[in-house]
């Protein structure tokens, strides 16, 4: 993110909350995400006035109303495009997009991929609840196949998006996953998103307790979490299980689960390197349907992080260089053009 040098008095999470009553359903995963964002914000050293949160439409998109920063609750799917225009012209601002699976992957899918490929230094927080909550329970582009919803009484025949693979397909420089039920991990991932210079894509599994309750239970609940999740750490082997008894080993290009101690040790496992372009392609593809026999655990953490030039920096550099080499534009000269004639 952009460096801000202004010295501000120490702020607290409370300084980032507004007088507006939070209107999510009781028990919604959004509360936790809001709390974690409010917690990390004061630690960033950015004055509130330089933070802008832009959202689209959906439950998650109410977010800006609850953050005492600048904010815009815009129209469905377009937060990413609005944020792009803002960042292009005001690169010094810290710009965050809060969006949902319908907002950013369905109606706004186009703007999402284009923001990522252009690499604006913007943090995208994708609240994925695998359902349309605000319109009361239709399937979303991340809902699993066969899902019975109000609009799919016979079960959904849509194949779901793999959001992180999509983001990597658009060459996102920072790709990570976290969950509402793991506040500490979520805070870390928010901080990492912010620290990355360039477009950050953070998918947050978020429970909609009204229309899709328990969608991520298998990843979040104590009983299943150890075997169903894989927490990525830079330079560390891919190991999981309550006793860290399992690991992921690369068999050619195929990740396979191995029992540790059974002829395999941690050093035989895939060592996570978030800078590894090719391994990241495999890692984001670890997206098995948990209903499937022999499925791989779902990774959480930073899948990939690499910097490349940001759109707004290159845009503004072109302007600076043009002015440096040709001088500031002279309006009278422009209006006059190359050829004129005089009528006496």
């Amino acid at each position: 993110m952009s460096e801000t040098t202004t010295i501000t008095p120490a702020l607290t999470a409370k300084d980032f909350s507004t007088d507006q009553e939070v209107r999510w359903c009781p028990g919604c995963g959004d509360y936790s995400i809001l709390a974690q964002v409010q917690k990390i914000m004061p630690t960033l050293g950015i004055p509130r006035e330089n933070i802008v949160i832009i959202s689209g439409i959906g439950c998650s998109s109410r977010f800006p109303y609850y953050m005492n920063t600048y904010g815009m609750h815009s129209i469905h799917g377009r937060a990413t495009a609005i944020a792009s225009g803002l960042k292009a012209t005001r690169p010094e601002l810290s710009v965050w997009v809060v969006t949902g699976d319908g907002d950013s992957l369905s109606i706004g899918g186009n703007h999402t991929i284009h923001l990522l490929r252009r690499n604006f230094d913007i943090n995208i927080l994708l609240f994925n609840n695998q359902i349309y909550g605000l319109t009361k329970g239709q399937y979303s582009p991340t809902s699993e196949e066969g899902k019975v919803t109000k609009s799919t009484p016979y079960g959904s025949i849509d194949h779901p998006f793999n959001p992180l693979a999509l983001a990597r397909g658009a060459d996102a420089g920072f790709v990570a996953r976290s969950m509402d039920r793991d506040p500490k991990h979520l805070q870390q991932m928010l901080l990492r998103s912010h620290a990355h210079k360039g477009a950050s894509f953070l998918e947050i599994y978020q429970n909609c307790n009204i229309f899709n309750d328990g969608a991520f239970e298998i990843f979040t609940e104590k009983g299943t979490k150890p075997l169903e999740t894989l927490f990525l750490e830079q330079g560390k082997p891919l190991v999981f299980g309550a006793q860290r008894e399992k690991g992921i080993r690369l068999d050619g290009f195929h990740p396979v689960v191995v029992e540790l101690g059974n002829g395999f040790s941690e050093s035989d496992c895939w060592i996570h390197d978030e800078k590894d372009f090719y391994k990241a392609q495999l890692l984001v593809r670890m997206f098995d349907d948990p209903r499937m026999e022999g499925h791989l655990p779902r990774p959480f953490g930073v899948f990939y992080e690499n910097e490349r030039p940001c759109y707004e920096d290159m845009l503004n550099l072109q302007i600076q260089e043009a002015i440096l080499s040709k001088g500031k534009g002279d309006l009278d000269k422009l209006l006059r053009g190359n050829e004129t004639w005089t009528i006496a």
Partner: protein, 618 residues
């Protein structure tokens, strides 16, 4: 040899050929040359939507009409005096617009069997040979052969050499109208400076055409058109989209707001994006977005951050932007939507002109969604009109629709360009802090114009949230309160209506304040209406002409003007759009004159129609 020189007052030339023949370039070169002599002019480029429509066919014909005159002219002319036909299809499509007795310059090579067949002439029929053109003066010349002959020492292939044949024709016309070739030679040098062979072939072809005229005895006369009596001053030639781009830069400089253009390529608006992308030294940021929606929403993001946010498009693109335009109305942020209209609906006629987006601009959004609408009437007027549109947007915190169309976007005319210091100031004030006694920032607290403050991110103490949900009056908080919604709808309506107090009163373009007939127009029909009104006034009819720049809100005195006439006629290049709004607002029995053929209204057809309406009573 010495030829007879004849002085003409008014000439209309149509350059017509295959869309790959370079007719637009030929026309614009002749235009430039004409302009620099101080001769008044108007142009009408007319080309197919396909980049290379099937060669030699009727739909593949590309034309460029140029009228130049020692009198002031306001239209590119109803009929041509000279038709340059590079092939049979070009002759066939344009003959109906050639004056009886007019001149045809025909490239014989374009009238071979294949070309004749492609132009749907019957077997064995060649209009150049069958005396069907006996009422015209026909100059047949084998342009292709002569161009190849002139370039025989150049090593380029035949295909490349043939590309220079438009220069041969241009050279010949320069000779015919007593011109100097220097402007075009300079142009060619700057265009092909790095390709010496192509440069040489073009210059040689140009010169060959000129000398052909000079040495061939069949041409007995050359022509001259004198300087026009235009108001004194320094002039340049300008096209509509170019003027629009400059108007935006001027407004950006005068307001101190950096210009951000979010745009998606679309005919006939793309040239504005091309033009503005060159002007980085003015701090202009252009963003070629992934689609029309991102184009406008990125501009909204930029405007929210304190830039002059602009998006440029045509009718289909504005349709896609409708929801975002509504957001801009709701969050009351300055924004400019430029719609360079073309034939519709749907993809319609991309390269043809039409005025059929007025109702879309007025009403084409969900909810009660009022927005000012401004229209330009000539190529150079795009500069002034867009400058005004920006002033209204930033001073009244509102999105504004600016309407131009394909005809003025691509048309050229002389322009007495302004000096920076003479441009009216555009004052913009951001809210920078809380006023004394103000405890909390109220983003929807309004001034006497009903305008809310523009507080941009980065301003300490004014952190606030805005969005597309209905706003509570004054606080800007989300509100579903029924009374508040009605109040806010009325406030947004009134805010736009009050702009009428901050724009000039409507003036008559010509004619007396009272009379039998008011011709009320808007946009690119200006020249045709002006010329028709002048003719009828000359014939003694009590006719006046008013031309609207401000379409929403209308100037405060428009109703009064309308009531001063027995009849009101509204000519439009659509199926009747302004007329609906005028009838609605002023309860007047206005009559329409509507042409929906993708081409401008001509003066003569309008005169005929108006005479009929006036019943010959002058």
């Amino acid at each position: 040899m010495k030829r007879k020189e004849e002085v003409l007052q008014d000439v209309v030339i149509k350059f017509a050929g295959d869309s790959g023949d370079g007719m637009q370039l030929t026309g614009s070169q002749f235009t430039n040359n004409t302009a620099l002599l101080g001769i008044d002019l108007a142009t009408f480029p007319d080309f197919p939507a396909e980049i290379r429509a099937p060669q030699g066919t009727l739909p593949g014909v590309s034309g460029y009409q140029l009228r130049f005159s020692s009198d002031l002219v306001f239209t590119p002319g109803d009929e041509c005096d000279v038709l340059v036909a590079m092939n049979a299809a070009a002759l066939k499509t344009n003959l109906k617009n050639l004056k009886k007795g007019g001149t045809i310059i025909a490239n014989t090579e374009g009238f071979d069997q294949k070309n004749l067949r492609l132009a749907n002439y019957a077997d064995g029929v060649n209009p150049l040979e069958d005396h069907s053109l006996d009422n015209y003066t026909v100059h047949k010349m084998d342009v292709t052969k002569m161009t190849r002959e002139a370039l025989k020492d150049i090593t380029l292939g035949t295909k490349e050499k043939d590309r220079a044949k438009n220069m041969f024709v241009l050279g010949f016309l320069y000779w015919m109208y007593n011109r100097n070739m220097e402007t075009t030679i300079q142009f060619l040098k700057s265009k092909f400076g790095k390709k010496p062979e192509i440069l040489e072939s073009n210059i040689k072809a140009l010169q060959a055409g000129y000398y052909f005229g000079d040495t061939t005895e069949t041409f007995t006369t050359t022509y001259r058109v004198e300087k026009a009596k235009m108001p004194p001053g320094v002039y340049r030639s300008i096209m509509g989209n170019q003027a629009l781009a400059m108007g935006l830069i001027a407004a950006s400089q005068k307001s101190g707001l950096p210009l951000f253009l979010g745009s998606y390529p679309i005919t006939p608006a793309s040239d504005i994006l091309h033009e503005l992308s060159q002007y980085k030294t003015f701090g202009v940021r252009t963003f070629q977005a992934e689609d029309e929606i991102a184009a406008i929403t990125s501009a909204i993001g930029a405007a929210y951050g304190g830039s002059l946010g602009v998006t440029t498009t045509s009718g289909p693109g504005m349709a896609l932007k409708a929801e975002a335009m509504g957001l801009a109305v709701m969050i009351e942020i300055p924004l400019l939507i430029c719609d360079i209209q073309r034939g519709g609906p749907s993809t319609g006629l991309p390269t043809k002109t039409e005025q059929s987006d007025l109702l879309q601009a007025y009403y084409g959004r969900n909810g009660e969604c009022p927005m000012p609408v401004i229209a330009a009437s000539t190529p150079s007027d795009c500069f002034d009109a867009v400058y005004e549109a920006v002033r209204i947007a930033v001073q009244h915190m509102t999105p504004v629709v600016f309407l131009s169309d394909g005809y003025i976007a691509n048309g050229a005319e002389p322009w007495k360009f302004p000096k920076t210091e003479d441009l009216p100031p555009i004052t913009v004030k951001f809210k920078t802090d809380l006023a004394e006694g103000e405890e909390k920032f109220l983003p929807y607290l309004r001034d006497e114009k009903l305008v809310r403050p523009w507080a941009i991110p980065g301003t300490p103490g004014l952190e606030h949230r805005i969005g597309g949900l209905e706003k509570q009056n004054i606080t800007g908080n989300v509100s579903y309160d029924p009374e508040n919604h009605q109040l806010m709808v009325k406030i947004r309506e009134e805010k736009v209506a009050r702009i009428a107090d901050h724009i000039p009163l409507q003036q008559l373009d010509s004619g007396a304040e009272k009379g039998d007939l008011l011709i009320l127009g808007w946009g690119s029909t200006y020249g045709a209406i002006k010329s028709a009104a002048a003719e009828l006034q000359h014939e003694g009819y009590k006719v006046s002409h008013a031309h609207l720049r401000y379409l929403r809100p209308f100037p405060a005195n428009l109703g009064e003007i309308i009531r001063n006439f027995k009849h009101v006629v509204i000519p439009e290049i659509n199926n009747g759009q302004l007329i609906k709004i005028i009838r609605d607002q002023f309860l007047v029995d206005a009559k329409g004159y509507n042409k929906i053929m993708g081409v401008p209204i001509t003066k003569s057809e309008l005169v005929l129609k108006l005479r009929e309406l006036l019943g010959g009573h002058n």
